[in-house]
Amino acid sequence: DSKPADGELDWRDGGSESLNERESLDYRPVFAPLKRDDVIEFSQLKEAKKSNPIGDSKMSYMAYYYGYPGNNSAPEFTASGAYLFRPTKQTPERFSLEEIASVTGPVVNETHVVWSNWTYQVLRKFANNGDSLQYSENELTVGPIPYDANTGREVIVRYNTQLNSSATFYTDANGRQVLRRVRDYRPTWPLQQTENVSGNYYPINSQIFLNQSDGSSFMVLTDRSEGGGSINDGQIEIMLHRITVRDDALGVGEALQEKGSDGRGLVVKVTHWLAADQSLPSSSRRRRELANRRYREPLIGYLTA
């Protein structure tokens, strides 16, 4: 019924000026020599930086793990497969960025990021249209993942914030019930963690979010069931697409190598909605309404003139 007064942050402009008067998307990392840790920053407004709990390191990048090609002869040799995600290393491989392009217009600004010829990302920032539930959109296209007879590839997207999330994050179990997850911890038994990444993955059916003790929060709403977690504080990681070279011997009997209609590896197109808030009441309201909107997006019918 009204805009959350403290909920605008800088994912979008809360003011009344037109889109073109706003600071455009920030390409700063681009103009410096690229380094391995370079990231893409987006939707950054100068005046909002100080009050922004997401901080200066708002960024989203795509990366991938190599899946473990085990021989299933013992539990420790179980391959990454349909049931199990087992990366060979606990840090993902980074792409060397290929291209950035932009679109600037009266309804939406977009940043197109070409990570490789099989990973493409579009970050969208919408003009203020009076909608009280402001969000940004990230469209990710992955595939066909290059096939290598020796190892699978498991592609992720990461969102980094400066929130101090204290090893805690939240995912929904079924589109309704949000559960608190704590890294390297299970509430009902003493956990000895052996898989630092996948041991902290949980189902994400519609949403994953981080809260800071002062009420600041960052949320990602998915368009389908995915898996992911918060491997580092302030960070959200979501698996987008994967191929594996072996079956994990847990029941499917097949490696994950689905083909698209052209007979090549499947291409997956995913969209995430991103939003941030500075208070818990505001973020709860925004998250619930956006999740509802996402789940029941308007149906579009076309009719000839």
């Binding site: 217009g105 069931s225 076309y302």
Partner: protein, 183 residues
């Protein structure tokens, strides 16, 4: 009821944990997709008559179609039509805003609301990521038309008119190319 049953049954089957988590064999995945697709086709005439009831105009809605592949920027209807009405139905019990993104063939359109006023719209080339989706093969839409749909009433609908126009026409969409910033 009979027209809905196939879709109900297909959805029931796909709610098996294999269908949700993707741990089914590939042939089973194809079967799930076939069942849901058949169910949707079976239920489609019901959707049309529901629209007719909602709007009180049964004659017009026999010609209605929808675009289930709009998420990959492919819509056979807009591939062959440059002049049409778009109906947005909101199934949520409170008003919502929506950002429409419609695949179209041309660069310039006038989008008008129910009062006949042109609304701000923008056309963007279909991006290279999307073009790689093989299921998009054969699509003629090279652009996407983007505009704000505000406000769709609770469990109600709004109608927008989309008409191809000459560049420079009053209220025409802004064409915004994808410009390389860095390679």
């Amino acid at each position: 009821e009979a027209k809905l049953d196939l879709l109900r049954q297909a959805m029931g089957v796909v709610q098996h944990h294999d269908g949700v988590s993707g741990t089914e064999k590939q042939v089973v995945a194809y079967d799930y997709a076939l069942r849901v697709s058949t169910g949707i086709n079976q239920a489609y005439s019901l959707l049309q008559s529901a629209w007719a009831n909602l709007t009180g105009d049964s004659a017009a809605y026999s010609g209605m179609s929808s675009c289930s592949l709009a998420n990959i920027s492919y819509c056979p209807f807009t591939d062959s039509n440059n002049n049409f009405y778009l109906h947005f139905y909101n199934p949520v019990s409170h008003p919502v805003w929506h950002l429409a993104r419609i695949p179209v063939k041309g660069r310039y359109y006038v989008v008008s609301n129910q009062q006949g006023q042109a609304v701000t719209s923008q056309t963007i080339p279909v991006n290279n990521g999307t073009l790689r989706v093989p299921e998009r093969a054969g699509a003629k839409s090279s652009y996407e038309l983007v505009f704000n749909v505000s406000t769709i009433p609770a469990m109600g609908f709004v109608v927008y008119r989309v008409a191809a126009a000459a560049p420079g026409s009053p209220g025409v969409s802004t064409f915004t190319p994808i410009q390389s910033v860095f390679m």
